[in-house]
Assembly symmetry: C2
Homo-oligomer: 436 residues x 2
């Protein structure tokens, strides 16, 4: 296929190279672009509606004022800068024209014509049929989400200090996290740490350590993807640092006043959603069936059956291995991206069909708090301080770019020694006036 001319003339740039368009600059899409960097006969356009790649596994630390947004985000441009054959476009995709092999960009006079299309658009929150909850219980997928949660949490303490009504104060100092997966556990643990350590001594009328932090899980245990001994350990560790863990309790409703759980009304000014995930609208773009969570089925080479030259990976795809679906983790998306980049490169050069994708599980990690985490590789289970050390090293190592690695390490070291937190700004645009 090398040297196949572009099928259409009205593109931004048309030449004789094979054009790979990648939608999404997360772990999956970025890896594809980097692997295709410098390949002769291939040009790449990476489209993302944001100008930055986000290190999502640390998003909860921005939401809880440990890190600044800039420390877990890097411009996509600077990450693919060495590769002259990769063009980055900050634009929003509005849909596809599969017949003409074009990607439509909203607000742009031009479409992008592709030979090969890679869709790596990730996932967003799902409120299980209750979109009205979104207003009161933000999820945590983007930097804007993290900023909003940080602002909500910090503002709740500020407003509790300012009020003299004991009921209002109690509601302001109640923080409910819905969903006992890794994100929920990390958020609940970090909010408890903020209340007990970082804010200690800074208020005159309230005691931040008296804040109630609830972790609410509908299933029988938290960290359901982990072995049972680690779930139990995590629940005990959370309880120790002041989180009330409630399992087997589905949420009935979420309103401006708080939430209702298993028939009980809980007044809470801050409710955070860490429960459901819904894939981006790739299925409707492609006109193919999806599973209940919006994932597009792909074959063992990440191709969409029946649509040649179109691939889906990461959280947007329902990839399976040995009949079991792969989890929605950064490591899956990244490995798929590296695989697909190399496979496309070889296929376009030699015309050889690549071997199927194989996931290599790098282990499951969830952090609970200071010196507390759980970790699992196959039969190896770690908990407490050793797991926390592994978690810290792994995340510093995985952070893209030496600068961020250095700064985040120092920020953590600082927070660890002083028990203070570095990034406690309430942005004005987000601070709440009265109301909730």
């Amino acid at each position: 296929m090398d040297g196949t001319p572009d099928q259409a003339g009205s593109t931004l740039q048309a030449d004789r190279d094979h054009h790979v368009v990648i939608v999404g600059g997360g772990f999956g899409g970025l890896a594809v672009a980097q692997e295709l960097g410098g390949a002769t006969g291939i040009r790449v356009t990476l489209v993302d509606r944001r100008n930055y790649h986000l290190f999502q596994p640390l998003l909860y630390q921005v939401a809880t004022a440990v890190l600044s947004p800039g420390e877990i985000a890097r411009p996509i441009r600077s990450l693919v800068r060495p590769h002259a054959n990769v063009t980055v476009l900050q634009a929003e995709v509005s849909g596809l024209d599969l017949g003409a092999r074009r990607v439509r960009l909203s607000g742009s006079e031009h479409d992008l014509t592709f030979n090969t299309l890679v869709l790596a658009t990730g996932a967003t929150h799902s409120y299980f049929g209750h979109p009205e909850w979104a207003r009161f219980a933000p999820g945590l997928k983007t930097l804007d989400d993290a900023r909003r949660i940080r602002s909500d949490v910090l503002s709740a303490f500020e407003r509790a200090e300012a009020t003299s009504d004991p009921l209002a104060r109690e509601r302001l100092l109640t923080f409910a996290v819905v969903g006992g997966g890794p994100t929920g556990v990390e958020l609940a643990g970090a909010i408890a740490g903020l209340a007990r350590q970082a804010l200690a001594g800074e208020f005159r009328r309230i005691d931040p350590a008296g804040a109630k932090v609830l972790l609410i899980e509908a299933g029988p245990r938290i960290l359901g993807a982990f072995p049972e001994d680690l779930s139990d350990y995590a629940a005990r560790a959370l309880t120790r640092i002041g989180v009330t863990v409630r399992v087997g309790q589905p949420v009935d409703s979420i309103t401006e006043r708080g939430l209702s759980v298993a028939g009980e009304d809980i007044p809470a000014a801050t409710v955070i959603w860490g429960a459901g995930v819904q894939a981006s609208p790739v299925g409707s773009w492609l006109g193919v069936e999806t599973d209940g969570a919006g994932h597009v089925a792909v074959d063992s080479r990440l191709a969409v059956p029946g649509l040649p030259g179109i691939y889906v990976l990461g959280d947007a795809a329902a990839a399976k291995e040995n009949g079991k679906p792969l989890p929605g983790l950064a490591q899956v998306a990244q490995q798929q991206g590296i695989y697909l980049g190399r496979a496309l490169r070889r296929q376009l050069r030699d015309g050889i069909e690549p071997p199927p994708f194989q996931f290599r599980n790098r282990g499951n990690l969830a952090v609970i708090g200071r010196n507390e985490a759980v970790a699992q590789w196959d039969s190896l289970h770690l908990k407490g301080f050793p797991a926390w050390v592994v978690w810290s090293i792994a995340h510093v190592y995985l952070l893209l770019g030496f600068q961020n690695r250095l700064f985040v390490s120092l920020r953590w070291l600082w927070a660890y020694i002083t028990k203070r937190q570095g990034s406690r700004i309430i942005p004005e645009g987000l601070s709440r006036e009265g109301g909730r």
Copy 2:
């Protein structure tokens, strides 16, 4: 006056201590609170609508993606944490009741009753009778302003890369800074640096180094507060790094398309306002006359004539020394705050009227770019690299809090060595869709 009881009962907290209410947690208000920390017989309430103290002199570095917002902001609470007699309230003041000696807080059920009131509310932009320009030409006073300018500047490059219309591209790559004071000079120099160094090699269709950066000053020279030789040096240095300096050219109008300067239409997607300043509405709160820029006249002890126990300082005040108005600088506000805190403490303890405030000029500094600055103390004039070194040391030293000092130093060192910039996020809420 020590031990005078509070005049009203319906305050949040009423006791027998003398109550000093400070409005504004900038350089002036924060210094008053810190000086009054631990004083027996005095309790202090510091009110600010934001939860953080902002190091405004480095705001232009957030606007130009060198630093993150969190690096120049610290929670006011943590800055007064050791002082148990200081309460911090995040609230917006809506007005004063001078008869009852109360401060009204918007959205709160309670007023604050004071014995002594310190107003340190700073200043905002003034568009010289053209408020409609504000929409198209943001000023730089708050973190939100800095985020917006950063977003506008970075988005302009992104959109220039995405368009194929040469006229649109030229307009997107034209950046106009209005006002040749230190802020305007620093912004213009930093945008030129961003275009020529930090973004080099990251675009495929445009050359960021080809961006036009204009600095427009109505007066006869830039940096009018500096001696003429330093103004001339700064203009030459700016020209060398790619800024077009236009002096003696007042702005006629600013619209969505760009601006009109001395009869010439300049299409420009990004216009930044660094020209006028207007004091906060303290004058109307107090019902006293102000000068044209809204400053309240104070006597040599920073007291408002005719209103006992009410003080105004910093950018909100028109303080004079030897008949000459003091400049609107952080060092003036900070020295006034330290003076007033000590004076109040002594006056309330011993009943002795303090000596008048005396400003000690610590020098005038303006940075132009990498290795380029101007500095002046009386007859000592520095320019180029020596002035830049002095500027860097002074600003790291002045940054509040060891953590920020360390991080900002490292960030600068990194940016200096690599010529890259660390914080290039375009927040989603601020990114512009089409239009301008």
